[in-house]
């Protein structure tokens, strides 16, 4: 793996970040927006692991940041899905433009 320079891995994670950004901009369904957010978090994780591996191979800080980001992403996905189910129960739609009011 030492033949691949660090910048190629960073280009891959940048492309993944902007793919997720495109999904976040164009989609209007809450579940697909959640999927885009997961892609964004994953691109950040790739960055952390690649920097740790290439620049500080004797340390573990990037690994810990990745693990904590994964844990927070799991909590965030669970809360989002609870909100989605609540929203569907009240509006019968999870389109973000169909929900005009915050209080039910």
């Amino acid at each position: 793996m030492s033949q691949v320079p660090l910048s190629h891995i960073l280009i891959v994670s940048t492309a993944l970040f902007f793919i997720g950004m495109y999904g976040l901009f164009t989609r209007r369904n809450m579940i697909t927006m959640l999927m885009s957010v997961e892609l964004l978090l994953n691109s950040v994780n790739i960055n952390f692991v690649a920097f740790n591996k290439y620049l500080y191979p004797d340390k573990l800080e990037g690994v810990f940041f990745t693990l904590f980001i994964i844990a927070i992403a799991a909590a965030e996905a669970a809360v989002t899905i609870a909100i989605i189910i609540n929203l569907y129960r009240n509006f019968h739609s999870i389109d973000v433009e169909a929900t005009g009011e915050m209080k039910f």
């Binding site: 910048s7 891959v12 902007f18 793919i19 999927m35 892609l39 004797d58 844990a71 609870a82 999870i94």
Partner: protein, 180 residues
């Protein structure tokens, strides 16, 4: 080009292609399945970087947990056979151009030569990483209370997960009409 470089480029195209399909597919269930493939490809990338523990965590938490949760919520809230509405053309063009501009700008920044701070590690080969990133070392540093130990964030995140669990139950609980 060596075999490991070929594996890296195949993995990258797999991740990016399935990720692109995940954000553009018009059927929501297919979109979730493409996301699953993309996350599995990222786990393969961690294997390629010799981070076996993170790859395992990625598969267990993302593929086994989050995608399954997303598929459950699709079945609870959507008619998954129906197409999603196409994005508004003006918005799609605008966001596509913004995203392309951002990607080009960030790639220009990536020409910066990244170097480690301070003195380089003696004989810092990428080969001696395997021993450092072992599960034993990760566990020992995560639960150590000395300097550079991660026991405080570990405990904080356990509180966060508990709070998220209680919050999910409170948000998604069904209130009977007479209780309102």
């Amino acid at each position: 080009m060596s075999a490991s470089a070929v594996v890296f480029y195949i993995l990258s195209f797999f991740i990016l292609g399935t990720g692109l399909l995940a954000v553009t597919s018009r059927k929501i269930f297919r979109s979730a399945i493409w996301l699953l493939f993309s996350l599995t490809g990222i786990a393969g990338l961690y294997f390629w970087l010799q981070m076996e523990f993170i790859a395992a965590v990625q598969i267990v938490v993302y593929v086994g947990g989050i995608v399954v949760l997303i598929i459950f919520s699709i079945f609870l809230t959507q008619q998954s056979g129906k197409d999603l509405p196409a994005p508004v053309r003006k918005r799609a063009i605008f966001s596509g151009s913004v995203v392309c501009a951002g990607f080009v700008l960030t790639c220009l920044l990536l020409r910066y030569p990244f170097r480690p701070l301070g003195h380089p590690v003696a004989g810092a080969g990428l080969e001696n990483m395997g021993a450092t990133a072992s599960v034993g070392n990760i566990g020992a540093q995560m639960l150590s209370t000395s300097e550079y130990g991660y026991v405080l964030p570990f405990e904080v995140i356990s509180i966060l997960l508990l709070a998220a669990m209680i919050g999910c139950i409170v948000i998604a609980i069904k209130i009977k009409p007479e209780d309102k």
